[in-house]
């Protein structure tokens, strides 16, 4: 690794590097000046703030709605996604946007069946609101979420004719994982959720089938419980017997050790280190079984509280370890959001969010349009030759553009930090610092210095180096 540059008044860089690591994982990265502000507090307090912060002053929704029609009317998903992307790049509470990204990857729901951008927006909002709460409560909200109901056909799950789709995925993909329940449990789970549907089912499904936005745009779906379509018979589920409705089923699911392990492995996979894809979990042990045990304990100790699980995770040695830094591939949305936060292209939303959203899709992650009910396979699978080129071009284009306010500010900061001649080595080190105190491999560092040597003019050197840093291996990783 390149040697970090020293800061006046600071003996050690470890605290700022740790904070940078935290904010890359729990957020979308921070600039150096933001990190300096952050590390005035102890690490544990930073974590507490991250988990407890609210962003009541944020008016981004109004801004997006005013300047982006589809982000307001949400006929289809691009408007939904652009609203979210703008939140990611402008919020002061990044974990509040990272958690929906986490849940969207697990409870993957998409436009091809839902056919209503607003309904998918409502689901992401639900993740935003409940994604750091109790897991059982989150699953109940998920079971009542209209997008999920339509995505997994629960409006077709009737007392006299069950549809197992939701019941099966609830157990297999959303809570326990394959191998921890029986086929009879799937059927009883489905029966418990009969009558859980959306209001105006016929009209909404007729419109969805026809992809109709006539005459007046989409109408949002809403949950409706139809008692007369609910199978209230006695059932046995995971060894317990009773007149179980959907809430009871979720309560039983959340008591299971397998649920705690499944959820813990997901959290580890998303926030700590890339694991193998989820379908392999029943065959391949976790990378760090002790870490999973710690998270499982936090799950039960806190009565399934996700915030407490994350508090344990972020404060753990396995999270803070230098061994896992720059070892996790950024997902396309978090990668792009990180770039745009640094470049500050969008002080206010503009129509240019439209191509940015498309570019994220070309990198492999079209928000609210996952590849399947399993969501995206993350980690190394984000990177193929096409996606890598998209990522590099994206970062180079926006971090290397001197017209972007964030780049202007970085150039100004670096130029004003020295009264004399800036060497290429100093420029590269300063750029790495400005982009969030990044560490890179020595050979990459040397290549950047060599590049800087080949460019005339300080601002050109800086913008060129910034663009190139965006193409480095380390910048692709969190």
């Amino acid at each position: 690794m390149a040697k970090s540059i020293k800061y006046i008044g600071r003996d050690s860089m470890s605290d700022i590097e740790l904070a940078s690591h935290l904010m890359r994982r729990a957020g979308f990265g921070l600039r150096h000046e933001e990190l300096l502000e952050l590390v005035k507090n102890p690490y544990e307090a930073i974590v507490d703030n991250l988990l407890n912060e609210t962003d009541a002053s944020w008016l981004g929704d109004y801004m997006v709605r005013r300047f982006d029609n589809e982000a307001s009317g949400m006929i289809n998903v691009p408007g939904t996604a652009r609203t979210w992307i703008y939140r990611m790049i402008s919020t002061s509470n990044p974990l509040q946007e990272k958690m929906p990204l986490f849940w969207h990857g697990i409870f993957a729901t998409g436009i091809p069946k839902v056919i209503n951008g607003r309904v998918l927006f409502d689901q992401i909002n639900m993740f935003r609101k409940h994604g750091l709460g109790k897991f059982d409560e989150l699953l109940i909200h998920l079971a009542k979420d209209p997008a999920m109901i339509v995505w997994l056909d629960n409006q077709e799950n009737h007392k006299d004719s069950i549809n197992e789709n939701w019941g099966r995925e609830l157990l297999e993909l959303f809570s326990m994982g394959v191998g921890n329940y029986t086929e009879e449990d799937v059927k009883e789970c489905a029966r418990a959720f009969t009558g859980w549907t959306i209001g105006n089912t016929d009209y909404m499904m007729t419109r969805a089938k026809r992809d109709s936005d006539w005459p007046y745009g989409r109408i949002a779906y809403h949950f409706e419980y139809k008692d007369d379509d609910h199978d209230d018979s006695t059932r046995t589920f995971l060894g317990e017997t009773g007149h179980f409705n959907g809430e009871d089923i979720i309560r039983i699911i959340c008591k299971q050790e397998s649920t705690a392990r499944f959820l813990s492995r997901h959290l580890y996979h998303f926030f700590v280190t890339d694991e193998v894809p989820v379908p392999s979990w029943q065959d391949i042990e976790p990378k760090d079984p002790e870490a999973i045990d710690i998270l499982v304990k936090a799950y039960f100790d806190s009565n399934y509280d996700l915030k407490e699980m994350l508090r344990v995770l972020f404060n753990s040695e396995f999270f803070k370890s230098e061994k896992i830094r720059y070892k996790k591939v950024k997902g396309p949305a978090e990668f792009a959001a990180g770039v745009l936060r640094l470049s500050k292209e969008f002080d206010v939303p503009t129509r240019d969010l439209i191509p940015r959203h498309r570019q994220i899709g070309w990198m492999g992650q079209e928000l609210s349009n996952p590849t399947s009910v399993e969501g995206w396979h993350e980690g190394q699978e984000w990177i193929d030759t096409g996606a890598l080129v998209e990522r590099i071009n994206f970062a180079s284009e926006f971090l290397g553009n001197k017209e972007n306010n964030g780049v202007k500010q970085i150039i100004k900061n670096i130029e004003s930090s020295s009264s004399g001649h800036l060497t290429s080595a100093e420029i590269v080190s300063a750029c790495l610092m400005e982009l969030g105190d990044l560490l890179i491999d020595q050979s990459t560092y040397d290549a950047l210095v060599e590049f800087s040597d080949s460019v005339e003019g300080v601002s050109e050197k800086i913008s060129g180096v910034l663009g190139l840093i965006g193409s480095t291996k380390e910048f692709q990783m969190a």
Partner: protein, 320 residues
Amino acid sequence: MEGRGFEYPKDTWMSNSGRIYVPSQSRDYGERGVRITILDIDSGFFGTFGHYGTDPGKLISPTSITANAEEELFICDDYTNLVNVFDVEGKFLRRWGLGGTEAGSLSGPSSISFDSDWNVLISDTRNHRIQKFSQEGKLLDIFGTEGRGEVEFNLPWGITCDSADNIYVCDWGNNRVQKLDANGKYVGEFTSAGSRPNVLNHPSSVTIINDEYLCVADWGNETVKVLDQNDNLMQELRGEAGLSKWAQDFMNTNQEEHLARESANLEVSLDFLEDRTPHAESAHIEKYFWSPVSVKLDQSGMLHVTDSNRHRIQVYKPVS
């Protein structure tokens, strides 16, 4: 979305002959949906013009429309920063404007109006100011700067004048309508403060009724409010739309959807909403306003509310 229908309409203007002109901004890059639609109050359809493009006579993002004494249509575009002039048949006449922050340049013009001398007033949104031009685009005056104080604005939107040339500006980001005199001097402001908790919330458009009342599109609250000159709330509309003739025609030719609609409850109880914001309510109740972006009075005194997210114009008769 060519032909009849609107796609994210932004404004209306009615000619002396009763023709109504509606700019649609469409979605995304909207190649198919950007146009000016010509119709009348009985839903007669008379064609479109001003389709997507940057060539003369083309539009990218039309935001507002008005007309001079000769009924030349002035349409501003917040993407090209141009004012485009057409005749009532849709024939392109000329255009002017320049993007930027300098005096006389525009950045995201969102509303256009005339004063009694037929000078052009433009809400120069991203520059947080009002600019006055001749009809040929010569800069005559500039009012305001970014801020929260008197004659300061935060992303201003709708603009109009009364008969005394007082200027009313929807100061969107400051949740108020500012009233300036003809020289741009601060006269007062309106927030509907007496109607708490429903004070103005990011107003988008204002029109003046008989020099006495303000009719305000209260965009953030998804309502239309009528205020007197003392800022008292006189009336509030939430939206009462039924099916237009065009919508009914659609239903008549799409019977499966029509029958399903007939049996649906379109005014469901909204108790299920966790965050009961007006925007969320309007997403569920079709008859409500959803992004009301323009209020205009026609020659007969009827109120045209451009209901953008519902792709329609709601028209209200004055009752007194």
